[in-house]
């Protein structure tokens, strides 16, 4: 995995991380909002129960006073029912505030005040039923100004205000929480957008780099192919030239060989003894007739002085100066010279000698000697 791919992966992991963080925070805020909503409902329930308690208490109080005036059993039952409702509201309030010490304490105080008021109302009813109006006056005198009822009213109002204050606080907190959620979501979105933009930039950069590298590679390949083609053409051309040169050389060699063979064929076909002499009159080459007539093998004759094989005669005696050497020195032909050849068996064979100097650019470089066996000789 190359460096660029790792970088892009890191970007995507960060995007995923931000997304997960935003999701977790959002879920947590939703849970908080739900919990806040439960709490608000709970607070409203406390307020409603509180108000109902107050209404019930006023109803009980009013019904008790009515019973004092009318003495009707229906009014007495109304007091009992109203007190029962108040007691039920108190139980509910106690249950609702059991986990909140401050409210629980206030409810306990209201409970205490309500209990006292209930006892007062029951005493008032009892006085009406048993003692007549004097006893009623006595009980009512203890409640001059209805201070106990006002105490209950204040306690109920304080609880209501406290709950309303808590509602306001919760509302503010909820607003802040919503703001925080919005901020978190938008921050996450912006961050993810920036990260994705960064990843896109890296991908674009990477693609551009890859395209550039591929283009450079193609160019290098094309250049290499051009060089290879050029070199191949050069090699082909050189090979063609070499082949042509080899062909020409082979042709030249065969031509020379053919010519040499042809020349040898001519010399070897001559029935007379043909010898090639060096400038110093040593034998350098002989034809097959020489071998046949003298009995010597070519290697026994090569580099041997011609005079040791053939001796020229002059009026029956050997000349004082070697005529062959002299003719070679003078560069002139020598014809019809009488001579004898000493063969391998020591026999003397009479021959006629002819010498033709070999000239190379007017310079004598050797000579060709032809020995013709005189009739009656060996050949």
């Amino acid at each position: 995995m190359d460096k660029m791919v790792r970088r892009i992966l890191v970007f995507f992991v960060l995007v995923l991380g931000v997304f997960v963080a935003v999701a977790i925070d959002s879920v947590r805020n939703i849970n908080r909002a739900v919990a806040g909503s439960d709490w608000v409902n709970h607070t409203h329930a406390v307020i409603l129960e509180n108000e109902a308690l107050r209404s019930g208490l006023y109803l009980a109080d009013g019904s008790a006073h009515t019973f004092v005036v009318t003495g009707e059993p229906g009014d007495r039952r109304a007091v009992a029912e109203a007190l029962s409702d108040v007691s039920e509201h108190l139980d509910i309030m106690a249950a609702l505030t059991r986990n909140e010490p401050a409210q629980r304490e206030q409810v306990a105080r209201i409970d205490s005040l309500v209990s006292a008021r209930g006892a007062f109302l029951r005493a008032l009813i009892k006085a009406r039923q048993s003692g007549g109006m004097d006893a009623v006056h006595s009980v009512l005198a203890d409640d001059a100004g209805q201070l106990a009822l006002k105490d209950i009213d204040r306690a109920v109002e304080r609880l209501k205000q406290d709950e309303l204050g808590l509602l306001t606080e919760r509302d503010n907190a909820s607003f802040m929480q919503a703001q925080m959620t919005r901020w978190t979501v938008w921050t996450g979105v912006v961050l993810d957008f920036l990260l994705l933009a960064g990843a896109a930039w890296l991908i674009r950069d990477d693609l551009a780099a890859r395209r550039s590298a591929a283009s450079a590679l193609r160019a290098a390949n094309n250049q290499l192919e051009a060089k290879v083609s050029e070199r191949t053409a050069e090699l082909f051309s050189a090979n063609e030239l070499l082949t042509a040169e080899n062909l020409e050389r082979s042709w030249s060699n065969q031509g020379l060989e053919h010519q040499l063979n042809y020349n040898n064929l001519i010399i070897n076909s001559i029935n007379d003894l043909v010898m090639v002499l060096t400038k110093a009159t040593n034998i350098s080459r002989v034809n097959p007739a020489v071998v046949r007539v003298t009995g010597f093998e070519p290697h026994e004759l090569i580099n041997r002085p011609f005079a040791s094989l053939a001796q020229l005669t002059h009026a029956g005696t050997a000349p004082m100066v070697d005529p062959v050497a002299q003719a070679m020195k003078d560069g002139r032909d020598l014809r019809d010279q009488g001579a004898t050849v000493l063969d391998k068996l020591g026999r003397r064979i009479p021959v006629e000698v002819a010498l033709f100097p070999l000239r190379d650019r007017d310079k004598v470089v050797g000579g060709v000697v032809i020995l013709q066996v005189i009739s009656g000789g060996k050949a």
Binding site: L247, S250, W251
Partner: protein, 121 residues
């Protein structure tokens, strides 16, 4: 269309070299070693040029040229030989029989020039 050349020589080396050289020069070459083979090849695939040696194992090159002339009257004949002739002999005698005479010691370029002169490139 490649020009067809019939090469007649009893030496395999010369046949092979000439066949290779003339093929590389753009000609279609049939190489044979004897006069009967040459006549058979000429009858089967008419050549545009005949290149022959003077001395063949089984016959004389000039005799074969005479026979091929009867078969291919318009086909030029080139004599390629190692036998050195007197220029006067070439001019007065061989010219009547062959279109061109080239020595075997001549460079290949000269042989090619002679071939091109007779049949074109």
């Amino acid at each position: 269309m490649q020009k067809h050349i019939l090469v007649v020589d009893d030496e395999a080396t010369i046949r092979d070299l000439l066949e290779l050289f003339l093929s590389r020069s753009g000609y279609r070459v049939t190489a044979v070693s004897s006069a009967p083979e040459a006549e058979e090849a000429a009858a089967k695939d008419r050549p545009d040029l005949v290149i022959t040696d003077l001395q063949l194992e089984d016959s004389d090159g000039l005799e074969m040229v005479d026979r091929l002339k009867a078969l291919l009257p318009d086909t030029p004949m080139m004599l390629l030989t190692g036998v050195l002739f007197d220029p006067r002999v070439v001019r007065e005698t061989l010219k009547k029989k062959v279109s061109c005479y080239v020595e075997k010691t001549a460079p290949l370029a000269r042989i090619l020039a002679a071939v091109q002169g007779l049949v074109g490139k």
